[in-house]
């Protein structure tokens, strides 16, 4: 039995549907759980707030990609704008626009979840068969060293020269043309995003997917969810059309991702005594730019091919970080960078010679950390109040990471490196590293960005300290599950998509039995 994808323009009258399971969100968690549920014979309706954008529209321009494929046009931020967030918003969620990096969950993190948070259901052994299946379906494989672009090569060479640990990234691609436009939607469907793999697989098996359907509230009473009320959005204007879509499922799965799943739960009064939206982790990222004499062309080629976990564990009380590189296209480069006027123009006018490294800090592992808090914002439709409480250990990690990236860039042959301080710190040689030592670090002192959002509905055994149980069932509710990055009790220390794929596929087994 074939299902169907509906877009907002096709839903012109108020509609009520009944089904076994309603899944809200079509990203890395929702897609896998929906796929496994339809395979098990369940009638599944999926609601996705974003649009159904496909390679027909993926013209590889930032001007088209950011308004259509990212939350808040790519400008989701904390309230004080100290942290800029890249998060997907379309069918396929962030998998449509991410940079394809695929890692299994580190054993160290699973142990922390087990020992500290009481998550006794997940282990490498439990998740391994799911990761095997995911990796096979999504063609996840190591990207060959011979194919890495010069941006990654600079990190690779720098790591080699300084004797730091380094590795090659595994990517979910099939017949990849090594173009470099993954962040704008793959124009040839080589990226094995949910958009082109698991979701259409599920539709072939019966999934009914509504794009441009914004789930606004969950109706519930006692321990039971009875329905989800969604508003249909105009696919072009991205505004409610006035048409309502109501889904009455036997069981509800929230898979809107960290930030949007807490938002839906909070709008519905399901706040778990104030815990929903708290302990949100974002892998805060600091960035260093470098100018080279040779061409780097960081906009061309697989965006991420190299990583280093050399600094992932820095000892008790310290915040660890891992190193990667981002793609560098002009609009994102201009908005993420700092400085204005001629200073910025001097940097950006030779974009092909610009090399960029990122240090991704690991949050949520120290007991004193609170991370980010998501709360409702009056007068907003798709925005939330977001705040992040940085601690001294994170600020120290920003300083160390910035210095290490500068060293790596000089080791790789940079002629000049530039921090992303509000007033950039510029070094013409390694002898000037003291300038970076002397600089101030912390929010609004320099740019902090994130592309990984986790937590906000953390899993745990203790209902007084978590939102969902170790099976991802909302504490105190019989037919409500959360299956997305929001359930992670901590951040990961690796790019998160494969962790979420694996957990979602694992959870689908017992959700199918409960539905």
């Amino acid at each position: 039995m074939s299902g169907r994808i509906f877009t907002g323009d096709e839903v012109t009258a108020d509609t009520t549907l009944e089904c076994d399971v309603c899944v809200v969100g079509s990203g890395s968690g929702g897609a896998w759980v929906a796929h496994e549920l339809v395979k098990a014979g369940k009638r599944v309706v999926m609601l996705e707030e974003g649009g159904y954008h496909t390679r027909r529209e993926f013209d590889m321009t930032e001007a088209r990609a950011f308004p259509n494929l990212y939350q808040e046009l790519g400008n989701r931020t904390t309230d004080d704008l100290s942290v800029s967030m890249l998060q997907g918003r379309s069918v396929g969620g962030s998998t449509t626009v991410n940079w394809c990096s695929s890692f299994r969950t580190p054993e160290r993190i699973l142990k922390i979840w087990r020992d500290v948070h009481g998550v006794d259901t997940l282990s490498t052994e439990v998740l391994a068969p799911h990761w095997d299946a995911v990796e096979k379906r999504l063609h996840i494989a190591e990207w060959p060293e011979s194919a890495m672009n010069a941006n990654n090569r600079a990190l690779w060479d720098g790591l080699g020269k300084l004797g730091y640990e380094r590795g090659l990234i595994r990517r979910n691609v099939n017949n990849c043309l090594n173009l470099g436009y993954c962040g704008m939607g793959c124009p040839v469907d080589a990226k094995q995003s949910m958009l082109v793999t698991v979701l259409p697989d599920a539709v072939e098996k019966g999934l009914t997917l509504y794009a441009n359907a914004s789930a606004r509230t969950i109706e519930w009473s006692g321990r039971k969810v009875s329905s989800v009320r969604a508003e249909i959005l105009d696919p072009v204007k991205n505004r409610p059309t006035g048409v309502a879509l109501t889904v009455k499922p036997k069981l509800l799965v929230c898979s809107g991702g960290a930030i949007n799943t807490p938002g839906l739960l909070l709008r519905s009064g399901l706040d778990a005594d104030g815990r929903v939206g708290r302990r949100t982790w974002i892998h805060p990222v600091v960035v260093m730019m470098a100018q080279f004499d040779r061409e780097i062309a960081a906009f061309s080629g697989a965006p991420q091919a190299v990583y280093s976990h050399h600094f992932i564990e820095r000892g008790p009380g310290k915040v660890g970080f891992f190193l990667e590189v981002p793609p560098v296209h002009p609009m994102l480069a201009s908005t993420v960078s700092t400085g204005t006027g001629a200073r910025l123009q001097e940097v950006i006018e030779d974009l092909p010679k610009l090399q960029v490294m990122i240090a991704i800090t690991v949050d949520g592992l120290l007991p004193e950390e609170e991370g980010a808090t998501v709360a409702l914002k009056d007068g907003a439709y798709s925005r939330y109040t977001l705040s992040y409480k940085f601690i001294d250990a994170q600020v120290e990690a920003f300083r160390v990471a910035t210095l290490e990236m500068a060293k790596l860039q000089f080791a790789a042959g940079a002629k000049r490196v530039m921090s992303l301080h509000m007033d950039p710190v510029v070094l013409d040689s390694e002898a000037e590293l003291s300038k970076l030592e002397a600089a101030e670090y912390g929010p609004l002192k320099h740019k902090i960005v994130t592309a990984h959002q986790m937590g906000g509905c953390p899993m745990g055994k203790d209902a007084a300290k978590s939102v969902v149980d170790p099976h991802l069932q909302f504490h105190g509710m019989d037919n409500l599950f959360v299956v997305d990055g929001s359930v992670l009790p901590t951040s990961l220390g690796v790019n998160p998509q494969e962790t979420i794929f694996g957990i979602a596929r694992w959870a689908a087994g017992h959700i199918a039995r409960a539905a």
Binding site: V203, N238, L266, E349, Y381, L444
Partner: protein, 219 residues
């Protein structure tokens, strides 16, 4: 059913950083600085077709664009690209709450009272010389007050997006743009409903993996 009910007055009306800033300005006005708040903006011709910006805010955006994107050989002029109008277009796409905040921010930036409060200047931003405007921007960028650094970032981001999002700026940055012949604007869009799914890189031709194994516990 327990539903979310915001407390009277709305929480963010007390917490929003912009409103805090404006509230501070209001106190000063009551204290005798009201005449500063009433000083007019530079007069600029308002183009037709703007959807969000009014004359005063458009003048501020024009001035900001001039400072953030100065004339430079090789770079198309922001005026020629109509970057201020592109800012207006972006504002039509954002959440209503973002539009309200940005409108407030533009007026806070322009307000002579605010400029007096922050830098003892008595001139609206749009009536300052280019040098003075640059000094004001630099002060906002590095201010000890997070309110000003936040405001600076908001304005910078939207202007940069509006300018560098335009493909006509690519030659200035030596960005080659997307390789030709890759994007297919006529690619099929499949929605299921019984239609056969077109073959492509996302289609798995081999036999699918076995169903998800059941875990050890039942909730």
């Amino acid at each position: 059913m327990k539903m979310y009910l915001p407390p009277p007055g709305g929480r963010d009306s007390r917490r929003g950083f912009l409103k805090k800033g404006l509230f501070g300005g209001l106190l000063l006005a009551v204290g005798g600085g009201a005449w500063l708040a009433l000083k007019g903006s530079a007069e600029v011709a308002l183009p037709t077709g703007l959807k969000v910006l009014d004359a005063r805010r458009y003048a501020v955006v024009l001035a900001l664009v001039d400072r953030f994107i100065p004339e430079r050989p090789g770079f198309p002029s922001a005026k020629a690209l109509d970057t201020a109008r592109a800012v207006d277009t972006i504002l039509t796409l954002v959440d209503d709450s973002s539009r309200v905040e940005l409108n407030q921010l533009l007026m806070l930036f322009e307000n002579a009272l605010g400029n007096f409060l922050f830098g003892l200047r008595t001139t609206p931003f749009t009536r300052m010389s280019a040098l003075e405007q640059q000094q004001v921007l630099d002060e906002w960028m590095t201010s000890r007050l997070s309110l000003r650094r936040t405001g600076y970032l908001a304005l910078r981001t939207i202007v940069m997006s509006a300018y560098y999002g335009n493909a006509l700026t690519w030659p200035a940055t030596k960005y080659p743009g997307p390789p030709p012949g890759i994007h297919d604007p006529a690619a099929p869009v499949w929605k299921g409903g019984g239609e056969p799914r077109p073959l492509g890189n996302g289609v798995m031709l081999e036999q699918e993996a076995a169903p998800a194994p059941v875990d050890g516990g039942t909730p």
